[in-house]
Symmetry: C2
């Protein structure tokens, strides 16, 4: 129905160039960084809170929160123990881009942190097109969103290295066919590292934070 116009290609190419610069800057500082993406309300901020509650005494963690309005998320990250929490208000834009991340990095002393968590705008479409320069792109899915999401948002499901399936505690209360979900996932992103968990009950969080600590050790 639509075709990608040349100006969009140029914007994406400029973004990729800037993302490479961000990545070099983050890696040379010995920091491990992740780009958390999800639908609105899938639980990115709750996951950050759970992660910080477990890691704040063993890792120095900074959080950069992208949102179209408010500082609710960065306030929650700061309250949960982030060493630094920076809010990027996108002014209505539906995703973060590498230039926004660079501006936020300018406000951080990367030599004083081990882990950088970037929380993207809640959106399953647009953020998938904008590489930020973090070492891993991570999707937080959630059970009540339904089992057809890999089929309907293939760009997002294809482009991530890690998948978190949050709100596993709601599985008894909603229609969700795990086999159908996994089948879609397997086609798009075979073997993707997956963590089923619940930020509400705490189930499965340790496996996720253990993995994260391992990645930080490799990077630093």
């Amino acid at each position: 129905m639509t075709t990608r116009v040349p100006i969009v290609e140029k914007i994406l190419s400029a973004n990729d160039h800037m993302a490479e610069e961000n990545r070099a800057r983050i890696e040379s500082a010995g920091v491990f960084s992740i780009n958390l993406m999800a639908s609105p309300g899938a639980g990115k901020t709750s996951l950050i809170e759970q992660t910080l509650s477990r890691l704040k005494d063993i890792l120095r963690v900074a959080v950069i929160d992208g949102d179209i309005a408010t500082s609710i998320d960065s306030d929650r990250a700061a309250a949960a123990g982030a060493q630094t929490a920076i809010q990027i208000n996108t002014g209505g834009d539906c995703h973060l881009d590498a230039i926004m991340l660079r501006s936020a990095l300018d406000q951080l002393d990367l030599t004083k942190i081990d882990l950088l968590i970037v929380e993207n705008v809640g959106n399953l479409v647009c953020p998938a097109s904008f590489n930020l320069g973090t070492q891993r792109s991570i999707l937080v899915a959630s059970i009540p969103e339904g089992d057809d999401k890999p089929y309907k948002y293939p760009g997002m499901y294809r482009g991530v290295q890690v998948l978190i399936v949050n709100k596993m505690d709601l599985l008894p209360y909603v229609p969700f066919n795990m086999d159908y979900f996994r089948k879609g996932l397997e086609v798009l992103n075979p073997g993707v590292v997956t963590f089923p968990l619940s930020c509400k009950t705490g189930e499965g969080i340790d496996a996720w934070t253990d993995w994260l600590v391992g990645q930080v050790k490799v990077a630093t």
Copy 2:
């Protein structure tokens, strides 16, 4: 962090012009039309199924489904009793626009329907900026998304005439402060028509379909 560039203003203005044309065309055919918007997985398609199951024998309903990939939603609408179900694949675009709707209208005989349901791409940001020309813009929120969504997605919450709060059956299982949700809503969109309901249990659906039938009677 960003400013809206002139080219975007021009695109939006061209879209508004086309939306007016769509609206005139729909109204002159005596059709009532709605633009359903929501996060991925809030339950737009389930709501359409529930609506069709109640109205298919008393109204002639067409459904236009916008999605970035697949025809899952239009297949579900057709199976549920839509007289016509048309799929718009946006090819990756994060929202429908008035030009896409016009192309879909070209495939419909408006004189043979009473109600047109347009299901937008699952996204709480981008669709809010693109008027399609339907008589009502409707947001489907859902309980597991959380009570802070009006604060975080003000453009969407401000721009709709009707709010549906789906998955009310999950209220006992998730943290959701209804007073906090309502307070945000009241600031952005005071007095907005609201239907709390559950597509799973059927609770509250009749109030919604009664309202819809009333609106169709006024339009036709």
